[in-house]
Every structure is written in C-alpha cells, then in structure tokens.
Symmetry: C2
Subunit: 227 residues, 2 copies
C-alpha cells in the first residue's frame, strides 16, 4: 500500500512515516519537493537503523500534491491553521478510491488553556470538525478521523511500545477497516470505532482536554485509555 | 457538610448519596417531599447495611428547593432535558456560598449514535455547556462541572472500588478544592482539574463519546483513564 504523509515535519508525521515504512511504501509530502526528499532521507536512516532487515517498505519524498496523487492513503498532518487553505490544492488529485486520514484538531489557546474551535464553512456558515471539513471540501466520504490523542512525541520514538486506544470515526466501512489495520500495525495501538464522521468533534475535543490536563496537572504527554 | 442530591433517582444520585453519607449529611431532593423521603429511607438502609458503624453521616429526604436551601453543596443530578426548566425554580434559594456540581450532559441520539448538543441560551442565542448554563442562569461562579464519565451503574454498587479519573472544571478555587476532596472520599476516584468552567464542554463531550464506544464496541460501562 502507498501512504502519503503530508506536511509530515512534526513528531506525528515522523512517527507514522518511520513506523509504517516497516510494511508500506511511504511518501513524505512537503510544500517543496526538495524538503520532502531531505526529510525522507532523514526518516529512512532512522527506519533502517531501527528495523534493519525487517524493513519491508520504503520512504520517498515528494511535493504534497504529487505525494497524494500516487498514494492510496493520505494522512493530513497539517497544522490546523493551514488546513482550510491547503485542502483546495489537493482537490485535483483526490478521487473516490483514496482514503484520507485527518488527525487535525482545530483549537486555540485562551489565556492559560485550550478551547476547541471547530471550523466555520459555507454560507450560511456551518460549524464543522476538521474531519467533516476534509470530507466537505474534498467531496469524498472516505475520510477517517484518527490519531488525535496519541502522544506524537512518543510515536516518534521507535523504541517505545505505545499502549493506547486510538478512537476513529468515519462513514466508509472499507476505509475504517483499512485504517484500523494500519493502526494495529503500530505496536500496541488498538483501534476503537467511535461512530460516523459526524462525531469527529467528540474525538477532536479530547485533544484540548488532554492539553489542559497536562497544563494544570503537569502530566507529560497525556493520553487516554478506555477502561 | 450538608450535601443535596437533587433529582437523585438514578444510579448517579443513588451512588453519590450512599457513598457520601459515610462522612456527610446528605439530603435526597425530589419534586415531591414524599418521594424524597421514601428514596432517603431506601438509600439509608443500603448505606447502613454496607457501612455499619462506619456510617458517620445521615440521609434525609426533602423537596428539591428545600434540600438546596439548607445545603452547602448541591448536586444537579437532573435529566438534561429538564435542566433549563428546573434551574429557575432553584434561583430563590441559591446564594454565593453554595457550591453547585453539574454532572449534566446535553446530548441527543441521532440514528444509532449520540451527539453533543450544548444548550442555546439568551438573545442573541449563545451555545453553552451544562456547567455554563447553571452558572449563567443561577448567577454564581461557584459551579463545578464533574462526574460526567464515572459509570453510574458501578458508582451505585457500594461494594465496588472505582479506579477512575474524575476530570472537573470550574472557576472558583475554593469550590474546586471542596469538590476535589469530596471526590477523594469515594475510593479510589481521583480528581483531575481540567480548567475553567468554559472548558466544561470538553468534559461533557466525553459522555456521548463513551456511549458511542459502548454502542459500537459492546464495551459495558466504559470510562476513561488518563495515562
């Protein structure tokens, strides 16, 4: 399977690229092809060093739309403030076969704490979660909302086993299945289906909730476990 | 301390009344004094049977406003659809010393799943969490939002030890302290301060999220643990 990680410069992108490269051909997307290729070189060294001969996939770099064009699964590791501007540039390369994963959380810091600030789209304006915004703007129902609560800093450290539940939301059964399998390929992440894409706001809201817990209780890299 | 549990007919009310009666004088509030007293008799028998000579507090019944009038802490275990109609009846007995606890979650079932549906209050209408609605309508900042995620059915079983985190939100430091201490008196609940009352929506959203997980994954009484 070909997986594009777009804007994958942060820890979440780094973690997903290097961990999924064990099994899949991963393309690091960036605004410039050069930057994508440079990042790919860096991530490839990390993955080769960690997995050795167990590394079955590959890591390449490309400009974002080129990466999306050739991939089956596209992860939008895009900063929340750029998402609405970025999506239209993807539109020409998205067809109904491609699966999009949105880990994006629209939120803002107010004083000391974070609040959830869904996007406002359309006329009259509708309040939409990031997952819904992706589906609406790219006109596809193969959007899966996931990875909002996994601590990115830990995901980026390949030596760590991640004992977390990964709630995911989406409308397309096949896409949910594919993403659930991808989640299971990262030890010991466990996918948990949380409902249709319309409940993505409930999943995205957990990120500012966790950040606030972190701020007020000095908990480092908090995540949740359903018990 | 005197604690009123208003509308405490469900499992959450039953659990809080019987568990806090170990240390405090608890008043079961109901729409009718008779029903409040009948419930109090039932809960008192449960608490006496379970705690024996360790029972230091008492359990009485009263009409809701009478219960609130004589209490230091008031828990609004009111069905979400009655909250906005109920609060104005409380207004005459609420002063700035009383602490209000809101476990209320405004939500609706749509098809198979639950969505979070904050209240719409004022002109022009503002979208408010239950915690904010209580504070706005009763004009007090001593509101603490808590107990949205503890499985009520388990709380009502005194023989169970509850190994859960209880996120709470509120603006008044003293009120937060009092409620945190009340939470710690229920073994092994752990209060976790999650921010000002304005983030109560993040806490309340976790309830429909958990209900959806329960529906789609057949998890019984799910709760969360921060890890």
């Amino acid at each position: 399977m070909k997986i594009a990680i777009l804007g994958g410069t942060g820890d979440l992108g780094r973690g997903l690229v290097t961990r999924w490269a064990k099994f899949h051909d991963v393309i690091v997307g960036s605004r410039s092809e050069e930057k994508g290729k440079a990042l790919a070189d860096e991530y490839r060294q990390i993955a080769e060093k960690h997995f050795g001969s167990e590394l079955k996939g590959s890591i390449q770099g490309a400009e974002n739309t080129q990466a999306a064009k050739v991939s089956d699964v596209i992860v939008l590791t895009i900063p929340q403030e750029y998402l609405l501007g970025f999506l239209p540039t993807l539109k020409p390369v998205i067809d109904q076969n491609k699966i999009l994963i949105s880990p994006v959380v629209p939120m803002q810091k107010v004083n000391k704490h974070f609040v959830y600030t869904p996007y406002s789209i359309g006329e009259p304006p509708r309040s939409l979660s990031a997952g819904e915004a992706v589906s609406t703007i790219l006109r596809t129902n193969r959007v899966v909302s996931a990875f909002h609560t996994v601590p990115a800093r830990k995901l980026a450290q390949l030596e760590l086993t991640l004992d977390y539940d990964i709630p995911l939301a989406g409308d397309d059964k096949d896409a949910i299945q594919v993403v659930s399998d991808l989640i299971r390929q990262i030890p010991n992440l466990k996918p948990l289906y949380a409902g249709p894409l319309s409940v993505s706001n409930l999943l995205e809201s957990i990120t500012p909730f966790l950040l606030n817990l972190s701020i007020y209780n000095k908990i480092k890299d908090p995540s949740i476990k359903v018990c």
